[in-house]
């Protein structure tokens, strides 16, 4: 009996020892966890601090360089929209309707610029994307050169090309169309080549096995796979390009932007408001329309 009690006591002792060891191990783990958590919190906080510093530093520099002050501006923020609405109110409904009719041809021109540029860039960018995809072209040099060409096309802000072309061609939608096309070729070619690089090569290999050349492999093996994605990206671009062609009009490349620039300079409140309204309405409807078509094409809203 005594022996049993002793052995029991010993067991309790062992268990206590074990529990102690377990507890210290747990404490170690939790300490290590806390260390990691603290370090991560520190990283997050310093990153956030950097962001805050960037924002306030940037706002300070920008505020210094601005011709008007922030607080005075905030106070005046609604003055201009109010001015526009008063102008529109004075014009009356029939007058506004007449203005819509007056500016409608320019809206059509702006949309045409965007549509033509997007179409041209779809074909040219598509062609460029096939020779800039690593999995479709075995020659590394060709791919590298084509990628640089793509990068340069994409890096050109539309406004630079448009400003130069306006000087040569005079105020004309041709300048805007060329400018938008150039940038869009680069932008679409990049997105397209990413699509190409993610596609399944089996179909192209099948075509090759029955003697198809490179063009035929692309046409029948790759294109059917990538076309829905190509179209989806192109539709997204169309909306971006309508905005871009409106802006280019502002520097003299024709369309609704040019008219907006004129009425802004002359301070015609009703005209400004009508043009803004037309622009916003067409951008929003193209946005919805392209979203709807894209959903039909690829079954979900594609991300930019």
């Amino acid at each position: 009996m005594k022996a049993l009690t002793l052995s029991l006591l010993e067991d309790v002792d062992v268990a206590a020892h074990l529990a102690l060891a377990e507890a210290s191990r747990l404490a170690e783990i939790s300490q290590a966890y806390e260390r990691v958590a603290r370090r991560r919190t520190l990283y997050t906080l310093s990153l956030l601090g950097l962001c805050v510093l960037c924002i306030f530093g940037g706002l300070f520099v920008a505020g210094q360089a601005n011709s008007g002050g922030f607080w005075a501006g905030l106070y005046k923020f609604f003055d201009y929209p109010a001015e526009l609405f008063i102008g529109a109110y004075e014009e009356g409904v029939p007058g506004l309707f007449a203005l819509v009719l007056q500016y409608f041809p320019y809206l059509v021109e702006t949309i045409n610029i965007a549509l033509v540029s997007t179409l041209l860039a779809f074909f040219l960018g598509g062609a460029l994307s096939f020779v800039a995809s690593r999995n479709l072209v075995s020659n590394r040099l060709v791919v590298a050169v084509m990628r640089r060409v793509m990068d340069i096309f994409r890096a050109f802000p539309e406004i630079v090309i448009a400003l130069l072309l306006v000087l040569i061609f005079g105020p004309s939608p041709v300048a805007a169309a060329i400018a938008v096309t150039t940038h869009t070729i680069g932008a679409l070619a990049k997105q397209f080549s990413e699509v190409n690089e993610n596609c399944d090569l089996k179909a192209a290999e099948g075509i090759r096995s029955v003697g198809g050349n490179w063009m035929e492999q692309i046409r029948f093996g790759i294109l059917p796979q990538v076309l829905p994605n190509f179209l989806s990206y192109t539709l997204l671009r169309l909306e971006v390009n309508v905005r871009a062609s409106a802006i280019l009009g502002f520097v003299g490349a024709g369309g609704l932007g040019a008219e907006l620039k004129m009425v802004v300079d002359w301070n015609y409140g009703a005209d400004i408001l009508v043009i803004i309204f037309m622009l916003v309405l067409s951008i929003t409807s193209i946005d919805y329309l392209s979203g709807w078509i894209r959903q039909k094409l690829i079954g979900q809203t594609g991300q930019v």
Partner: protein, 454 residues
């Protein structure tokens, strides 16, 4: 013989069977077959229509190709004038950069040889011009006979020479442009020769700066030499300040403008992201059950996005005045809408299992979204912000040109003068380099932050 016949029969049978089984593959139906050609035809018809609607032939006819050529020449080359004025005959030929009175070469270049009797100006591939006793003799390699003109006594007279297509003699002056790089211009008062040289002149330091014309090695040794050029400041600092204050290239102003553009893009994108994040949670159907609030926030996003950056910048320029502050606001207003839409879609597409798991441990709603949902959308959140950072650098240039300052405004200013094309080219080069750098940086960060995690 019969074997082959049987085989042929089997093959024929098999072909027939396949045709029946996959009828849609071997013979596409008419609608599908017509779709391609009809669409192509429509596209071609539309492009043709626009070709004439934009009046491309008329525009091309009126295009000022000659001006473009001159502008381009001015962008990559600099012009040196050698000018002789009869009123100031004692000075002889004065050689200056772009005819600038403050940029006269003290020692004439080797292509201008002056002596007491005669001056010879050598024009490279375009021959040479000699001037002596009020007679200008110009020899061109394509013509055996020299062109001679009598000058100094009233209107210049064309004495002898062939009828060259590039030579224009009018009642008051003689204008010869044998190639793009050379121009000879004679009037009642002066003999002037312009010669273009490829390259940018005085890019680093001003024409009259003590540092002008020094080689890189000389500058290096100067920078670390103890002998001070300007007793008040160190040589390195002096060099930097000379570079910054270059009166023709305005490096200081240009780089500050570039900084402003970058600030516009960066601050605009950051603020937009920070504002859009909480709003996106309100707009997401799986987080916020109140439909009215959801729809309200979504329409707000659509409004911000639909009113284009162009219009926002017009409104903010009116309120805050010209400058980058207006640009920042225009960018963050537009992009709050874009980010809000993208983020709320991402939240709705997120896997709800993780959030449910966190909830099962007894977490509060805030903890549920913080630990169950937020980590899922954070990579997308960061990658979209980085993507837009690059695209906003370009947008900041564009709205800068509309009046929001920065490099865009600088660009439009130099273009308006229609003379400083070398500056324009410099600015375009800087813009493209910066945009490409931002592109590389954002791509690198995206790979590092997003893909490196998994």
């Amino acid at each position: 013989m019969t074997d082959i016949g049987a085989l042929q029969g089997t093959l024929h049978h098999e072909a027939k069977r396949l045709e029946e089984q996959y009828s849609g593959v071997l013979g596409l139906d008419l609608k599908k077959r017509l779709l391609g050609p009809v669409l192509s035809l429509l596209v071609v018809a539309y492009l043709t229509l626009c070709f004439f609607a934009f009046d491309v032939p008329g525009v091309m006819e009126k295009a000022r190709g000659d001006m473009a050529q001159l502008y381009a020449l001015d962008a990559y080359a600099h012009k040196v004038h050698a000018k002789y004025q009869f009123r100031k005959a004692e000075q002889g030929f004065v050689v200056s950069l772009e005819g600038n009175r403050r940029a006269i070469y003290k020692e004439p270049p080797e292509w201008v040889e002056q002596s007491a009797e005669q001056t010879s100006i050598f024009l490279g591939d375009d021959g040479a011009l000699h001037f002596a006793d009020d007679v200008v003799t110009y020899t061109h390699p394509d013509f055996d006979e020299a062109f001679t003109f009598r000058v100094g006594d009233g209107v210049p007279q064309f004495v002898s020479g062939a009828d060259a297509p590039w030579l224009k003699v009018s009642k008051t002056q003689v204008n010869a442009r044998p190639s793009l790089y050379t121009r000879i211009w004679l009037t009642k008062n002066k003999v002037e020769v312009h010669r273009y040289f490829v390259g940018w002149e005085n890019f680093w330091f001003d024409f009259d700066s003590t540092l002008n014309g020094l080689s890189a090695a000389e500058l290096m040794s100067l920078a670390f030499s103890s002998e001070r050029l300007d007793p008040d400041v160190s040589n390195l600092r002096f060099m930097f300040s000379e570079f910054r204050t270059n009166s023709e290239w305005h490096h200081g102003e240009v780089y500050f403008a570039l900084l402003q553009t970058l600030i516009m893009a960066m601050v605009g994108t950051l603020i937009a992201g920070i504002l859009a994040l909480p709003l996106a949670f309100v707009a997401a159907a799986n987080v916020n059950p109140v439909k009215l609030a959801r729809t309200g926030v979504r329409r707000f996003f659509d409004f911000l996005r639909g009113v284009d950056m162009l219009i926002w910048s017009l409104i903010f320029i009116r309120a805050f005045g010209l400058g980058p502050l207006s640009g920042i606001f225009a960018i963050f207003f537009t992009d709050t809408g874009t980010f809000g839409k993208l983020f709320s879609e991402a939240i709705e597409n997120a896997d709800k299992k993780q959030a449910e798991g966190v909830q099962a441990t007894g977490a509060s709603p805030v903890q549920k979204y913080r630990f169950g949902l937020f980590p899922q959308i954070l990579p997308l959140f960061i990658s979209q912000m980085l993507y837009y950072l690059e695209s906003n650098t370009r947008s900041a240039t564009v709205i800068g040109a509309l009046g929001a300052g920065g490099i865009g405004l600088k660009l439009i200013e130099t273009m308006r003068t229609r003379q400083d094309w070398e500056n324009t080219l410099y600015l375009i080069f800087l813009i493209i380099v910066v945009v490409m750098m931002m592109d590389q940086l954002s791509g690198w960060l995206r790979r590092k932050l997003i893909e490196g995690r998994n």
